[in-house]
Subunit: 236 residues, 2 copies
DNA sequence: CGGTACGTTGAGTCATATCAACCATAGTGG
DNA sequence: CCACTATGGTTGATATGACTCAACGTACCG
């Protein structure tokens, strides 16, 4: 028996800690989930699932960070979102019963629970308030997607990069020295913003000149959030 | 009593005809819906709801066309989607319990049913398979939003305009003379594509030169769909 | 008949992409 | 241990897609 088998987290506990959607399950359901799911480890660079494939279940992140992206023309990635502890991924394809429209790749080593489709469906059917929460979650994500469409369509790259940095601060936070907790390559940043790697590099160094941030290799130290907000034109 | 009151459509019938989500309701639920809903007429230019407002229900389109858009910087519209008979709108805000993130404006005179939030919630709770269908619908729309993000981020305006035209053909069809059934201003086209009105005009006349379409004022006659597909770079 | 909304065209500008060269780092295999 | 390679980061030069601005035409409407 491998060591990690011992540490399979109980879903009811994990759900509360990570604030995942499963906190809306009943005690029995959470137990069933703990029993039925599969606990897995992945390393940076590993792929959980591929765009275009049918998948037999979805994932709940226990630790680590995963990027979810679509592959566009010439294989250029468009990062749609990140998943961190408590988040679930691939549920869209599972629920709409369509092949995966994205690929999920590990950015920071992670532990995830794999949950078979039928379990999710059965919870939706047996637990109306869970169903409602799931609908809420999806609708919320849809609202964010709509915002992002508007942003990409209407804002400049300079504005969007600043906005993305703010979002990353909001979602992953800063450490004690004000460094962004998530570490991304310039190319990955470009693939969120929807621009060229070189443009990201130039803009970052422009922000640096303007004393909005400092750069230490891949680590980004945020000096002036207000300044970034001003650039990004967010009033929401 | 105004004449239209006589013609309030029965939901079970309408649901089958327009292929709306309510076809998954039970007979009793459909009756309840017919009884509780409010039937309304709107003219071109009317606004059903405004971005930022809380709304107390959602709409099911019986006839006509509605555009759903977000207002970006300088008041520029970004059209997110259209709603035609059978489609429901504003359900996102209702279900996520957030203020409307879009505005809905009538493009072609329409008749819609207004359905109070509580009814929808009660159906989600009482009818698991309806809930599941609703989740499916939302997830499907989310998938489309993700695709659109990738497109806008990676494709040129020329490619996107061609793609939008194809989508409009798919969604609204052509009449006997191959004219696109939905009629939009150049500005509206620009607001779907996410570009300037002038760019749309120039590109349309370029397509025309290439014999892909003909222009008669606002009416667009599609001559060569394959050609448009080639330009748009869609392989999906 | 003037007003308003929409459509069209041309000219100039600018943000951003592209292409190319180069450096730094780390991991690999002989 | 060193050459080798891959990956990521940076910078400069150049090209160009798309926006902006401005002028003007057209059609419909009260």
């Amino acid at each position: 028996m491998k060591q990690h088998d011992i540490f399979i987290p109980f879903c009811d506990k994990c759900a509360l800690e990570t604030n995942s959607i499963f906190k809306h399950l009943t005690r029995d359901e959470a137990e069933k989930l703990t029993y039925e799911k599969d606990f897995r480890h992945y390393k940076r660079g590993d792929i959980l699932y591929h765009e275009g494939n049918r998948i037999s279940g979805f994932y709940c992140v226990n630790s680590g960070i995963i990027k979810v992206f679509k592959t566009g023309l010439d294989g250029k990635e468009q990062i749609i979102r990140f998943a961190k502890p408590g988040d679930i991924i691939a549920y869209r394809s599972v629920l709409s019963n369509e092949p995966a429209c994205t690929t999920a790749k590990v950015i920071e080593d992670c532990q995830v629970c794999f949950i078979p489709t039928e379990i999710l469906i059965s919870f939706v059917k047996s637990n109306p308030s869970f169903a409602l929460e799931l609908v809420k979650l999806t609708c919320h994500e849809l609202g964010e997607a709509n915002s992002y469409i508007t942003d990409i369509a209407q804002k400049t790259v300079r504005e969007r990069l600043a906005e993305v940095l703010i979002q990353l601060v909001t979602e992953f936070g800063l450490d004690e020295q004000k460094y962004l907790k998530i570490s991304l390559t310039r190319e990955e940043l470009a693939n969120i913003v929807g621009t060229a790697t070189e443009s990201v590099i130039r803009l970052l160094s422009e922000y640096k000149t303007d004393k909005l941030l400092e750069l230490n290799g891949r680590k980004i130290k945020i000096l002036n959030i207000k300044g970034l907000e001003k650039i990004s034109n967010v009033f929401n």
